[in-house]
Subunit: 354 residues, 2 copies
Amino acid sequence: MQEVYAVATIKDVARLTGVSAATVSNVLNGKRGAASEAKVQEIFRVAQELHYRPNSLAKNLKLQRSNTIGIITEDLTVFNTPEIVNGIEEYCEEQGYEILLANMRLFKRYNNNLTDTPEHAVLFENTTRNLMAKQVEGIVYIGYHCRPIAYLPPDHIPFVYAYCFPKSPLYPYVLFDDEKAGYQVSKALIEHGHRNIGLISGPLASLNAQARLRGAQKALYEAGILYNASTTLYGDWNRESGYQCAEKLLDMGVTAIFAFNDMTASGVYACCIDRGIAVGRDIALFGYDNLNIVEAYVPPISSVEPPLREMGYKSAELILAQIRSREPLPTMAHSLDCTVYVRGSVCAAPPAAD
Amino acid sequence: MQEVYAVATIKDVARLTGVSAATVSNVLNGKRGAASEAKVQEIFRVAQELHYRPNSLAKNLKLQRSNTIGIITEDLTVFNTPEIVNGIEEYCEEQGYEILLANMRLFKRYNNNLTDTPEHAVLFENTTRNLMAKQVEGIVYIGYHCRPIAYLPPDHIPFVYAYCFPKSPLYPYVLFDDEKAGYQVSKALIEHGHRNIGLISGPLASLNAQARLRGAQKALYEAGILYNASTTLYGDWNRESGYQCAEKLLDMGVTAIFAFNDMTASGVYACCIDRGIAVGRDIALFGYDNLNIVEAYVPPISSVEPPLREMGYKSAELILAQIRSREPLPTMAHSLDCTVYVRGSVCAAPPAAD
DNA sequence: TTGAAAGCGCTAACAT
DNA sequence: ATGTTAGCGCTTTCAA
């Protein structure tokens, strides 16, 4: 088996400069007066030449801290995850912290069957303890979609949930404000004169969908528009269900459709094309997620962009705050604002017939 | 600053079971006859109770090997990268190896200006040495698109390039077979009766584009179709240039368009819609990359899927082979096959007028 | 200004 | 069957 390829150690630097390892360590760690000016110069020179850097394992073991936080991703290939990771990395870089990433690959492993099973619990626990065995000082857990997570970390390790939240609210979590976005979208449609707006929600059980629905109702209420239960349909987040729901809504004569995700909106679009209805002229359409598919349409689909990078950044702030304060944080829920993009798919409502 | 939260060490297990640390180590590492049956049971029991796992830093430091390979990503948020990472993880999991991921965030850092500058070289070197300081046994470098990389790793550390390749072919690299895919796509179009096929390449300098072009020419040649330079245009990979190129090609009367990526194909689609030309009926269209936007169209765009997971898997095989053999590998270039998806956007050519 | 020594948690060679 | 010891590479206290 492989030994480590040749890498310079502190002893090499010590030997080549004729001082002790202790002195090299002191000098390289910037301790003033650890050696004469000449020695200092030489130590730096030799260290440079040998490309010396302290062995990270040895250093962290000795110091009993790693300057590292762990990230657990439920699945790195889910489209939102990398951008959240990026936000975490950004803050950590600013703070001189390092990252250790553990990807659970839940999708590949369990065929996208993501309820909290005992099997999952074992994997969670394992992944967490693996990171702890590497002395990470805290962990950010990134869900693949917003939902409650039963798993709680052991041993009071500093922990933050991003894009999901703990069933028992014992640790901070970072989400985005679905209700506000739902409100803003609906308000935008109302301001374009729409009063008969079809909603294609996700499944009733989805918390995201519920929050968006609340936002939409609030906007309707404020505008004095009577809520019409029959024009609120519950889809399955996918294109097919978008198509089917669109058929019903179009039959009911809505002038605008707010689909709660872009895939659904894409299905709506397809239905409109098939019926010869021009999106952005005959009907207004809004999606959610701001996937790159929305720009593929002519006119492009209006949509809502979740603040992924910011969620990562915020999560990192929270984890470092926990680490530094050594106390649980006062505020648990952190909700960040989405960006609403009104694009060509949103047109004014036709002159009211009523 | 944070000390490590309370975690059981081997000493704790030793103390609670009344044996020495050495015995605990021996028992837990499966050394037969290291202790009496009763002791063995007890050691396992206590270890379990305390959730003991060996401190990874201490263990690796001691053993001078980490059972870990490093992954350097140029940018984790580029759409192809996570799937490649996944493939690597899959193989490593099978082999009992761990992963350490370092994301250079080239996009965020340098605004997508990705030539090999000295600035980059410093970042590469730094990232590599950082991983080496953690005793990774080898490194897989994942480019964000296929191109030659000037950077070579130091100290003969086992190294593999994925989705890119080293300017000096001193290390193995894993790509996908653009030429073959270009050939297959063109052949598929020809078999549908098309003889006047427009190509929208990427920039002339792109190696991917060149290879796809070679494949296309081969197919034309085999079919006895005269290569027509005027129906080969060089775009910029984006939607706008796709639109513009499509205008020209449609004016020239092509019956099929092979766009060398999906964004370009998306621009072509937009142009066709604007002109009232039905893709999949009046004209055939092929893209490349198999982004999720291709399914958003009705009919969906035919496209080519690069074997991302497989590339990752292969890279991992190659890095472990290097690590285990302690020798450079004989074969440097590894090219994997893409999957070609013929979808509704491909129709038969109209009856020949010539 | 410099270095010897101890120890982080672990494993392995070598006693007993 | 079990333990003692040494040492991986590093930092830090303390003494010189």
